[in-house]
Amino acid sequence: MSLNDFLTLLTAATIGLSCAILGCFLVLRKVVMVGDAISHSVLPGIAIAYIVSANFNSSLLLIGAAIFGVITTLIIDFFHKKLKLQEDASIGITFTWLFALGVIIITLFTESNTDLDQDCVLFGELSSSFLDKIIMNDYLIGTRSFWMIFPVFLIIVIFVVRGFKGLLLISFNEEYAKSKGIHVSMWNLIFMSLVSITTVMSFESVGAVLVVGLLVIPPATAYILSNDLKKMIFIACGLTLLACILGFYFSILIDVSMSSMVIVTCGMLFFSVLAYEKLKKMLKSKK
């Protein structure tokens, strides 16, 4: 494995693990579509960040872009709870509108900026992430993509480890958590902010559409395999790592986009697990 391969895989794995951990809670709380909505509606924020970043440090601006994701969850809540619109309709309206707005901003303003185009918005490109290396005192300390996602990954791990009880409680039984006086809406806000920041930071590498795959597929697979939340998180992480490594080699083998190949591999793992469970049940019932 060359250094570049390693750097690419490292970035993919860090993004994948961040998504897998958060995704477990999205799946259990049945708010996967909200995650999907967030990943799309951060686009205007990202577009603005890129346009302005000719003059500023873009990483900081990107955190600002994540605010769009949080606003999205608030708008969805407002439509659903205050205006009594159906939840799926609220989600559909909010994110498509913001996403379209983002596309318009990009097409209008990106002639002067080559960092961002519509293809990259949708699918991202992991395999070119190694090009942007950060070198300090002659030592290579990683790629820009890696250093964008790594702090977020650390925050997620700390948040989930320290706040595990709170997350478990509100994921299983929100009403009961409220009856204990726990600030459920505050927890939700923090959690959705993390989802939002993760999608923004992994945006260049995997794009707005494929990041949803990382958020949903490995956790959903792990859900089938486990009956304990901690186990589910670890299994989701393991599956993600496996998918990253396999996807990486497959993509080289048939020369296609790595991010897409990673998601396809996630999907294949999901179907294998489904088949395995089905087979196990069939064998059991025969006995």
Binding site: L28, K30, K84, R162, G163, K165, G166, L168, L169, S171, F172, N173, E175, Y176, K178, S179, K180, G181, I182, Y223, S226, N227, D228, L229, K231, M232
Partner: protein, 264 residues
């Protein structure tokens, strides 16, 4: 009414999209009894519990628990939501769920102590689920799931227990286990408030009842309150002739059944 009130509800109204669900409810409940909140479907029973637990916005009025507002005495009140309100396929074991009873608002980031864990085991034992404590909650019967919820409330070590339809969809064995447990809790001086919709069993279960149908119809000792007239007012047109006769007979039958049930 003797003693301090456990819960006092004053001029409480709750509306949903401008339609009143609860209208001007005003009562105070005694301590140390098993209290039923009874009424037909859609009469606002569950909403009343949620209003007491501050889970739905109140349009007017207030609720006092032990003469204090809920925020000050949260640890004294345990809420048992309807069983159907959660997804039982959730990856958690019986023990995990009962452990949630020990989670506290301000100690959410602390580790649970040895005492916490002992209280959890005790609660599991009280609902007779020791054998199942490591089992995933999806692999339990409806009655066992209900007992998990009650154990979680017990683990909280509260004085007042507020339960939303704990007898729905449970088997006879569980009904008996729950009832025995409730009486045990009552003897320890706990107050238990239960939302219940099945009028046939009201007289067997409760010492005190609140009859509700958006408005407060009546409240008081079961023996004095469960009259045909009150039931008619609560259930109105919803009772067909047969059940009307049944309930009237049951109501008349009442003093006999109440013997030995008195709590003085």
């Amino acid at each position: 009414m003797k003693g301090k009130s456990s819960i006092e509800v004053h001029n409480l109204s709750v509306t949903y999209q401008n339609v009143p669900v609860l209208w001007d409810i005003d009562f105070s409940l005694p301590q140390g009894q098993i209290i039923g909140i009874v009424g037909p479907n859609g009469s606002g029973k569950s909403t009343l519990l949620k209003a007491i637990m501050d889970l739905v916005p109140i349009s007017s009025g207030f609720v006092k628990i032990m003469d204090k507002s809920l925020g000050l005495v949260r640890d004294l009140v345990a809420y048992v939501p309807q069983r159907e309100s959660v997804d039982w396929n959730f990856p958690a074991s019986v023990e995990d769920v009962v452990m949630m009873g020990r989670y506290k608002k301000n100690k959410l980031f602390n580790r649970l102590t040895k005492i916490d864990k002992e209280l959890v085991q005790e609660a599991i034992a009280k609902v007779k689920l020791e054998k199942y404590k490591d089992r995933q909650i999806a692999q339990l019967s409806g009655g066992q799931q209900q007992r998990v919820f009650i154990a979680r409330a017990l683990a909280q070590g509260a004085d007042i227990y507020i339960m939303d339809e704990p007898f729905v969809g449970v088997d006879m064995a569980t009904e008996k286990t729950i009832l025995d447990l409730l009486i045990l809790m009552k003897n320890e001086g706990k107050t238990i408030i239960i939302v219940h919709h099945d009028i046939q069993t009201v007289s067997n279960f409760f010492d005190y009842i609140v009859l509700l149908n958006t408005r407060l119809i009546a409240h008081g000792k079961t023996s004095e309150t469960l009259t045909g007239e009150n039931l008619q007012a609560t259930y109105g047109g919803q009772l067909n002739l047969l059940t009307k006769i049944q309930t009237l007979i049951k109501a008349k039958d009442f003093p006999l059944r109440e013997e030995g049930f008195e709590d003085k």
